[in-house]
């Protein structure tokens, strides 16, 4: 009971600070996912290009990203890339997260493009449309809709993974929790508080994705 009061007091005292962290978390997530979608699309198309060397490039990229922990990728980008190009932690984290999520999104797009009936491409081509026009106008729009549920899922994973940016000193939610925790010598309380923030964000994101899915489904049928 007492510790519950303590929790709520800490929650209320810290909320202005956490809201700032939440803002940064959201910025990181949105920026990195937007880049990741572009990256994912490019590598998915490379993989499906039927040109051996491009397929290889795509495979290697996916293998490197899927074969190493995200935290290693973030650190390598932070300590590596920024050695060559002066880049602040925000961009290092965003780019690391973008490339990481991009590999998973590439697989999502590849799957959803391949799941579109071959007849769609053939129908477009039989009307005199070029392969790339058919891809753009016919296949991709359908593939995109089909990719939406796993994309939403990846979005949630991206949100949670942005917590690792804390370790390259981004003051996002998790970093705020640990720094407040060590400043107040009370890590557990602030960890539980930040868990609440993440749960709410994930819940909102889930609802949002469901909403969009339902909208799209409704518009078509």
């Amino acid at each position: 009971m007492e510790s519950l009061t303590h929790f709520f007091n800490a929650f209320i005292d810290s909320y202005p600070i956490f809201l700032k962290g939440m803002w940064l978390t959201l910025e990181l997530t949105v920026v990195s996912i937007l880049f990741a979608i572009v990256i994912g699309l490019v590598f998915a198309l490379l993989k499906l290009s039927n040109i051996k060397i491009l397929e290889w490039i795509s495979n290697i990229y996916v293998y490197l990203v899927r074969g190493t922990p995200l935290i290693v990728q973030i650190f390598v980008l932070f300590f590596g890339i920024t050695k060559l190009i002066q880049m602040d932690a925000f961009w290092a984290a965003s780019i690391a997260l973008a490339f990481h999520n991009g590999a998973y999104i590439a697989e999502i797009f590849r799957g959803s493009i391949q799941s579109i009936d071959r007849g769609q491409m053939e129908a477009g081509r039989s009307l005199g449309m070029s392969t790339s026009l058919t891809m753009r106008r016919i296949v991709l729009p359908q593939a995109f809709r089909r990719a939406l549920p796993p994309l939403g899922n990846q979005f949630i994973i991206g949100l949670k993974d942005s917590s690792l940016a804390a370790f390259i000193s981004m003051s996002e939610l998790f970093n705020i929790a640990t720094t407040l925790g060590s400043a107040k010598f009370d890590t557990l309380t602030y960890l539980l508080i930040v868990a609440v923030y993440y749960l709410v964000l994930v819940l909102l994101l889930t609802l949002f994705v469901n909403l969009i899915e339902r909208k799209l489904a409704a518009s078509e049928k």
């Binding site: 009936d117 477009g124 039989s126 009307l127 005199g128 449309m129 106008r137 359908q142 078509e220 049928k221």
Partner: protein, 247 residues
């Protein structure tokens, strides 16, 4: 059988393999303007492959394909341009599910031919009226019956104003009660003088509409002739057997 000047399609010693599988073997075919040619044959005999070669969805291995007097080669022709002149209707319709019926129809004219959107819509509506679906403009394909879908697919192909139409078993994915409406649309088209190559098992349609019937077996054209000749007096034993098996 044909004079050279109104030749629409001429195929000469066409060969096509998928890997080791030799699917089309020295196929010759001639289609004059306004001809309706019906292609019959057992499953796997190569009918679809032949149609797809005519539309360059598959690339031949050897032989010539001459469309309206021009020998079409991948190296010298923009195949997209050729396909504009050769419409195709598929067994499974292949409508674009994320576009309304009207959007399905105007997509290619607007994006490929650069027709103004307003004009494309006007022509699209006329075509849909013609196939009896003038009231379905803004409906998505998922709301249509199979027969309606196939009629939209025909209208979509016609919207490009092709010189030839290829049909690959256009009614075989339809419930029996829906076959009639699609065949009616096709008969209409034939009457208007459209050149057509049709793969179908609808022998009634073939008898009534076809100028020529071509029987394929194992990648070769075994017999060709007027429908009544082929159906009633097949020259080849294989043709007889095939006709017995399906009638």
């Amino acid at each position: 059988m044909t004079t050279i000047d109104n030749l629409m399609i001429k195929v000469d010693k066409l060969n096509k393999s998928f890997g080791d599988l030799h699917v089309l073997k020295d196929v010759d075919l001639t289609v004059k303007e306004s001809d309706v040619v019906v292609l019959i044959g057992a499953s796997g005999s190569g009918k679809s492959t032949l149609l797809r070669c005519l539309n360059f969805l598959e690339m031949k291995n050897s032989g010539d394909i001459i469309i309206e007097g021009e020998k079409v080669e991948k190296s010298t022709h923009n195949l997209n341009k050729v396909r504009e002149r050769v419409g195709m209707v598929f067994q499974h319709f292949n409508l674009f599910p994320h576009k309304t019926v009207l959007e399905n129809i105007i997509e290619a004219p607007v994006k490929v031919k650069g027709v103004k959107k307003g004009d494309a819509i006007k022509e699209g509506k006329e075509l849909l009226n013609k196939v009896g679906l003038g009231d379905k403009l803004d409906v998505y394909p998922s709301k249509l019956s199979g027969g309606q879908k196939q009629r939209v697919a025909i209208a979509r192909a016609l919207a490009m104003k092709p010189d030839v139409m290829l049909f690959d078993e256009p009614t075989s994915a339809l419930d029996p009660e829906l076959v009639g409406e699609v065949l009616a649309t096709m008969k209409e088209l034939a009457k208007e003088g459209m050149t057509m190559v049709v793969v179908t098992h609808e022998m009634g349609f073939a008898r009534e509409v076809a100028d020529w019937v071509v029987y394929m077996n194992d990648g070769r054209i075994v017999e060709r002739g007027h429908p009544n000749d082929v159906f009633d007096n097949p020259k080849e034993q294989r043709t007889k057997d095939f006709l017995n098996s399906i009638l």
